[in-house]
Amino acid sequence: MSEPETREIRTDYLARVEGEGAMLIRLRGDELEEVQFKIFEPPRFFEALLRGRQYTEAPDITARICGICPIAYIASACNAMEAVCGVDLPDELRALRRLIYCGEWIESHVLHTAMLHAPDFLGYDGAVELARDRRDLVELALRLKKAGNTLMRVIGGREVHPINLRVGGFYRAPTVSELQALVPELEWARDAAVELTRWVAGFEFPDYEQDYAFVGLRQPGEYAIERGRIVSSTGLDIDVSEYEHHFTETHVERSNALHSTLEGVGPYLVGPLARYALSSELLSPLAREVAAEVGLGPVCRNPFRSIVVRAVETVYAADEALRLIAAYERPAEPWVDVVPRAGTGHGCTEAPRGICWHRYEIDDEGVILDAKIVPPTSQNQKVIEEDLVGVVRQSLHLPEDELAHRCEQTIRNYDPCISCATHFLKLEIERM
């Protein structure tokens, strides 16, 4: 009997993700030998270069980890520094931080949903190609994304790397009328996000589910964004400062990112599917109504349908932004003093892709002695590889190019941000 045919399916530079990564899948006949999801984005050593910097500098420096979700880094770093210095942010400043975070959710979710991920389901190379046939849809998405970016710009000064956030609050609080001026476009955005949800919910989804361990933040009374306790679908419920007692990061050879596991559980999933499974009852009535209308139950275990959950979260973010603006009164002071004191502080927020966790140790002068940052995509890396195994096993009947495409799509389900995870994607499928 001859050796079974070997095949290798590979993509050396995965498109429509943020950063540089690759995939390799090696098959002997129909036996899956190896699945690798590789991150070759060069390392930038943020945790090392933060040493010796002032505690006030961490938000702007860590923002540069990611141009797509800078608010996630800024907010997590601010939370951590406020925690170490014993400062509880006043409600009105907390609300403003949540409001600009809504802008980031809208711009990041719409970028991924409509421009990077939807083309997979519709057979296009990208949004520009999609626009040749469906200019109306792409124009709707661009205007929706712009609504999120406008929120970022008005509060933060600019869309990428906003300049107005600081440890303790903001440099300048927006006026009531500056925020009120955003209301008509945000009302349009809320309706457009409902339309976006109905559109993506109509895609054809591969029939694939996995029994994930979901991890995310949970905050009583609100869908967690800028604060909360770390909870899991497996019963974990801890303060963000206890993260390292329950989660471990390991460095694997093929990757410039670090892999995370939850003790006693193994790989876990963060991001929209996790947040939705852990807190869907806390979404706004409209977002819940739309989720029900498009057939999302209380938990969604099909990673390909994460695009629908992202769209529902976009409805929520627009709704929540409107609620926060309606309640806004300009704070008397845009920031509170945060006086440094020696100690260790932790901060964790829900980046569009999942929890973004920071720890800093500072001295009495506010000098950073040690820093640790765990971005969402490195936490998802193991689950992505497990999905690839499951999806490949189920899709062996597909021709090579369709199989490769299905695998890339599987990775894009996670909206992977490789720039973040590098401290992380090239796609290869090998058949032997």
């Binding site: 420096i61 141009g67 520009v128 626009a131 790397h161 107005n164 300048r172 720039s419």
Partner: protein, 260 residues
């Protein structure tokens, strides 16, 4: 030129946060018009479609930090009629150039448990240290307006209008009172190239130098101002060593303050 006779555009990524190439996708009002006027031939963050080079215009984001990237930029230069670097990483080395002032070999184990798997160079360098660059767009991130102006100029075969004045000039034209004079807030505006629209001072914050040093900045005069506001040499070193730490004027001045 593409088959359709449109100029071709390629977008390349080196060590960076993706924020500057995202700026192209953030041109929500102009993106489809840009795509009508030029063929986006290579832009993996946005599309799986790839057209073989050569390309009329290459936008290059990020700095060179690996031996492989040092070779890749030479190949990209060979395939590009015009090469435009976009953002502080590409034009000066970025925040990751802070390694140029330290020993990166000591840094790797601080982040990675298995340092033997990491390939990196000891310095982070701008693209112009490796190949000829036709045009630089400064900023961390770049300005959307400057990007659109540059693409439109290149499409019309004219030179883009990019200011080379300091942030102070933008503050004046915006009518923002000087934060150093009015509030005693240390500001890098007098030595920093304009282009951001003098954003930080408009938000009651001192400029932190995203666009890098302007042409012939007066660094000693800035240091004297900052000292008068109570900033010591260590503070000056920190302020100059952020996103454009490796830009000549900022690097030289920070080294001087370090020796002082």
């Amino acid at each position: 030129m593409s088959a359709a006779g449109k100029p071709t555009l390629a977008v390349w990524k080196f060590s960076s946060c993706d924020g500057c190439q995202l700026t192209l996708l953030d041109c929500e009002d102009e993106l489809l018009a840009i795509a009508d006027g030029i063929e986006i031939a290579y832009f993996p963050e946005a599309t799986s479609a790839q057209v073989e080079g050569p390309y009329d215009v290459s936008l290059v984001e990020g700095s060179v930090t690996t031996p492989h990237d040092a070779e890749r930029i030479v190949e990209i230069r060979e395939q590009s009629r015009l090469l435009v670097t976009i953002g502080a990483c590409a034009t000066s080395g970025g925040i990751q150039a802070l390694r140029n002032f330290a020993d990166v070999r000591e840094w790797i184990p601080l982040v990675y448990a298995a340092p033997e798997h990491i390939a990196t160079l000891e310095s982070s360098t701008p693209i112009a240290d490796h190949v000829h660059v036709d045009l630089e767009l400064r900023g961390c991130p770049i300005s959307k307006e400057q990007l659109v102006e540059t693409i439109s100029a290149l499409l019309n075969a004219r030179r883009p209008r990019l200011p080379s004045t300091s942030v102070c000039v933008e503050c004046k034209s915006r009518g923002t009172p000087c934060v150093m004079v009015a509030h005693g807030t240390p500001c890098l505006g007098p030595v920093t190239q304009s282009g951001c629209g003098a954003l930080c001072p408009a938000y009651n914050r001192g400029c932190y130098g995203c666009f890098g040093p302007m042409e012939s900045p007066n660094m000693p005069a800035l240091a004297a101002h900052w000292r008068a506001l109570g900033v010591d040499d260590a503070g000056l070193v920190r302020a100059l060593r952020t996103f454009n730490a490796n830009a000549d004027a900022f690097r030289e001045a920070s080294l001087e303050h370090e020796r002082a």
